[in-house]
């Protein structure tokens, strides 16, 4: 790799202001709903008002006659056209080796509806009002069935969500060494046991999902504009598994996307129905979800019920961890749903600790609720919550300081192979913990606690030392674990004749600032001004391929693909420069944007080499192709392992149950950092979502009817500015050992690490063992009263 540290164009590690901000701040962003295509029609989905019902009949006549209506489609139309259901991208096998159950997931309901909001019909009309008016006129005769709602009770429910899935059991999976774990428990001096509910969340990206599907007759092709995090994956799944179209005839464009947090990874039924219908209608169809539809139909997150037991010796050394979890899949398997409570969860249960034996069992169940899939952190927040809550409880029961018990059990030598299948390459957990203790002024805590007590308040301090696996993923490992896709990334560096550069990346930015960060990397490597680097993403018609953005993978995987392509450009540039400078290829070095003959003052700038590549008059045409354009695919050698230590300090008013988050301190190790301003912003946002889960947010379905009770911002408590403090954020660096940038990923850390820190703080303040998330005022008040 070229040493970029000395270049005057070096932008690495600098808090460069974001290049995308001008358009967003001036109202010139272009999100899907901002786009209008010629002859566009409006699509509206009629959705099930019932959680579980048989469709006895659908009468369309009155709606079809309604003004402006162009067409109405139902599940029968899709079945007649042999449109398949949505696929699941990850196969999980049961303990006995048999495959998980994958019930049909039709794009429009066929025979039954299985959750409130399940799509029943697509109405296409001249205007959205006309489509909505027509939807009101469709008569669906439902036979309402008993709804399966409760996660823990789904397996024993007598009602089946899918007739072909006994016990509503998607899979019954186990991971780790059961015998070694049992043996360790048998000799334990003490066992700490806790039960957990990891509360169900609704992602709530601020831009609701939206799509415009259009069909062009002249070349028999489709274009889908869609609010999505990975347009190539969307296209692949839609073409190969659902519609049977060649990818060459389908272009998927994900323009500016207003947040994703996982919820826009997936192939959704609406997208497919719109693409299919666009050919039937012969005009573009636009659909934009109302927020109510987002609540009902965006893939939700979390929803685990678990018990965990930690076996320790007399000194508080962890001997073994035993976990049993039931995970709610919702009504259908969403794109990566099956991997979240298994591959992305069980493999993280070692945390930062050298626990020698771990065994986990996971049952995944179907219920009459919206599908559940990856949401910021995806499995890793669930693992971290469980590990960091039980570690804190272990400390309390063993009467060991919570910092000390962590230090006593930290992994200290690397690489470290955990008993749950991962190999951590680097880390320094003592360093982040030591730093956060200072940042949080833990030394001054007793005085603050005493001051609170004088005011009748209870102060508490909670820790969380998280680890996550990012940079997803080595394709061969993922494949062996059941992934039905590769998990590499692609990049292209197109050097233009004048020396400006366009980068095409398979990563997708929906708030992460790739247009800035990626340009910093490329400008630094090529020694050219950042203004000369353009980043293009989110369009299968322009970008060669991509696996997209999720799992904090963009810089570690997508960025590395770009670096590899840049290295190829430099390698070719050296050959061109050697010709121009009449030197041997091997004597050429590339520094500060110039190709030089080593040890001489002979040199040629980057832009002259690029011009020569496109105007090859003086050029070694006999052995080198003209042009300067390189692609690279990068498949990571390992996951990356961001880790950190968080401290949360709260003050609880036992009289009202009000919890004030007085301070939140985070020290993360993301490896090398390209743009510290952007990284801090990612941490802030992650912490806010983590504190949202722990303090405020909860998706609640009525246990009897399966109606969503938290279906709007008036019922679902989103964190608002006055719910949160300003955060104290710092970092330590152990560079990732297996990618050239030494980066690990920062997008999910806050959401993973924050919840246990907050709950550990509140339970510390109250002196109680159990407190369910979210720690609402009522729950905290009740816990405080029980304590009194």
């Amino acid at each position: 790799m070229t040493d970029m540290s000395m270049s005057p164009m070096n932008q690495m590690g600098k808090p460069i202001l974001r290049r995308e901000d001008q358009r967003f701040l001036t109202g010139n962003g272009q999100y899907t709903d901002d786009i209008h295509l010629q002859r566009e029609t409006a699509g509206v989905f009629l959705r099930s008002p019932h959680a579980h019902a048989r469709i006895k009949s659908i009468k369309l006549e009155a709606a079809q006659k309604s003004p402006g209506v162009i067409a109405i489609f139902t599940g029968q139309d899709l079945a007649d056209a042999k449109v398949n259901g949505l696929p699941c991208g990850w196969l999980i096998n049961n303990k006995d080796g048999t495959p998980m159950k994958e019930p049909a997931h039709p794009c429009l309901a066929q025979g039954k509806v299985r959750h409130v909001g399940d799509q029943v019909a697509l109405i296409v009309a001249e205007t959205q009002w006309q489509a909505r008016d027509a939807a009101e006129l469709i008569e669906v005769d439902y036979e309402v069935l008993t709804a399966v709602v409760d996660t823990a009770g789904a397996n024993s429910a007598t009602t089946l969500v899918h007739d072909d899935v006994p016990g509503n059991l998607c899979y019954d999976w186990g991971h780790g060494d059961k015998a070694a774990t049992e043996a360790a428990f048998a000799k334990a001096a003490h066992v700490t046991k806790l039960s957990f509910v990891n509360n169900r969340l609704i992602p709530n990206a601020m831009e609701p999902r939206a799509a415009i599907a259009s069909y062009t007759k002249h070349d028999d092709s489709y274009t889908l504009h869609v609010a999505n995090q990975n347009p190539h994956v969307e296209r692949l799944l839609m073409c190969a598994f659902v519609l049977g179209l060649p990818e060459s005839k389908v272009r998927v464009i994900a323009p500016d996307v207003g947040g994703g947090f996982g919820s826009k990874i997936f192939l959704y039924a609406e997208d497919v129905a719109l693409v299919w219908a666009s050919k039937r209608v012969g005009r573009p169809i636009k659909w934009t979800a109302e927020r109510s539809e987002s609540f009902l139909t965006d893939a939700h997150g979390r929803d685990h019920v678990s018990t965990a037991e930690m076996a320790m010796d007399a000194n508080g050394k962890f001997l073994a961890l035993r976990v049993s979890t039931t995970a709610n899949m919702g009504a259908y398997l969403s794109t990566f749903a099956s991997a979240v409570p298994t591959i992305l969860y069980a493999t993280l249960l070692a945390g930062q600790y050298a626990t020698p034996a771990i065994y986990v069992e996971v049952k995944a169940v179907f219920t009459n609720t919206a599908p559940v899939d990856a949401y910021r952190g995806a499995g890793r927040p669930e693992a971290t919550y469980l590990v960091e809550r039980i570690v804190e409880q272990c400390a309390r029961e063993m009467k060991i300081d919570p910092v000390e018990i962590r230090r006593r059990n930290f992994i200290k030598t690397f690489p470290y192979a955990t008993p749950v299948g991962l190999t951590y390459d680097v880390g320094d957990y003592d360093a982040t913990l030591t730093k956060v203790l200072k940042l949080a002024d833990v030394a001054g805590y007793p005085a603050r606690k005493a001051a609170s007590a004088k005011n009748g308040k209870l102060r508490g301090l909670g820790y969380s030392c998280y680890i996550e696996a990012c940079g997803i993923a080595p394709s061969n490992i993922a494949g062996a674990l059941g992934a039905r896709a590769g998990l590499f990334e692609a990049g292209e560096v197109r050097v233009h004749p004048t020396g400006t550069v366009t980068i095409f990346t398979g990563s997708h930015s929906h708030g992460q600032g790739h247009e800035t960060t990626f340009a910093q990397v490329v400008a630094s490597k090529l020694g050219i001004p950042i203004e000369n680097v353009e980043i293009v993403h989110g369009d299968t018609g322009r970008v060669l391929f991509g696996m997209g953005t999720y799992g904090s993978r963009s810089l570690a995987v997508g960025g590395t693909a770009i670096v590899k392509a840049v290295d190829k450009v430099i390698a070719k540039g050296k050959k061109i420069a050697a010709h121009l400078l009449e030197a041997a290829d091997t004597d050429i070095v590339f520094e500060n944007g110039e190709f030089k003959v080593a040890g001489t003052d002979k040199k040629v700038p980057f832009a002259q080499v690029s011009l020569t590549a496109y105007v090859p008059h003086n050029y070694p045409l006999d052995k080198l192709e003209p042009g300067l354009n390189e692609n690279a695919f990068y498949d990571p050698a390992n996951f990356t392992f961001p880790a950190g230590s968080y401290v949360c300090e709260v003050e609880v008013d036992p009289a009202t149950g009000v919890t004030e988050v007085c301070a939140f301190s985070a020290v993360d190790d993301f490896g090398n950092i390209v743009n510290p301003m952007i990284v801090e912003g990612q941490v802030h946002g992650g912490i806010a979502q983590g504190l949202g889960q722990a303090l405020l947010e909860s998706c609640i379905y009525d246990k009897e009817t399966g109606q969503l009770l938290t279906g709007s911002y008036m019922d679902y408590a989103m964190p608002r500015a006055d719910d949160l403090p300003s955060f104290k954020v710092d970092n330590c660096v152990t560079p990732c050992s297996h990618n050239p940038l030494g980066v690990k990923g920062c997008g999910e850390a806050g959401a993973i690490g924050a919840p246990p820190a907050l709950i550990n703080a509140i339970t510390d303040a109250l002196g109680v063992r159990d407190l369910e998330m979210p720690a609402t005022r009522e729950r905290v008040w009740r816990a405080a009263q029980a304590r009194a």
């Binding site: 202001l17 974001r18 995308e20 901000d21 001008q22 358009r23 967003f24 701040l25 001036t26 109202g27 010139n28 962003g29 272009q30 999100y31 709903d33 901002d34 009002w129 709530n204 990206a205 601020m206 831009e207 609701p208 500016d256 996307v257 207003g258 947040g259 947090f261 934009t288 109302e290 927020r291 109510s292 929906h510 708030g511 992460q512 600032g513 301003m677 952007i678 801090e680 912003g681 802030h684 946002g685 992650g686 912490i687 806010a688 979502q689 709007s712 911002y713 008036m714 989103m718 964190p719 608002r720 500015a721 006055d722 949160l724 300003s726 955060f727 806050g750």
Partner: protein, 155 residues
Amino acid sequence: MTVSVTLTVNGKAASASVDPRMLLVHLLRDQLQLTGTHVGCDTAQCGACTIHLNGRAVKACSMLAVQANGANVTTIEGLTGKGDKMHPMQEAFRDCHGLQCGFCTPGMVMSACQLLADNPKPTEAEIRAGLEGNICRCTGYHNIVKAVQQAAAQA
């Protein structure tokens, strides 16, 4: 049935023929092509559609287009000066990294301007309380608060 509406938007006269049930936000977005004003919810909670109506910040989803007849409306597009020169509040959001995906941003900026108009030197707590009607899912509000503080300090 349609109703004609005449109003001033970003300093220019605008008129449109609208369905009586049309919301002001849809008049701005769909008929006047001012797509910087966003729709993030359907219960007047998120604030992504915040504009200035006769000098006051309002949620453009919470009134009908016909109710804006004769009104003077400023949207995020109108906050930007000549030659794309950004308003100090827009500058502050960029300087402080007060935005990520950008979707809540126009409404947040419009609300923040109102906040400083009402209270030029707010405390952090006052800023947080003042922005309570605008939801951001990306930033955790930390840098939005800093941006408002910067804009206040420069005013």
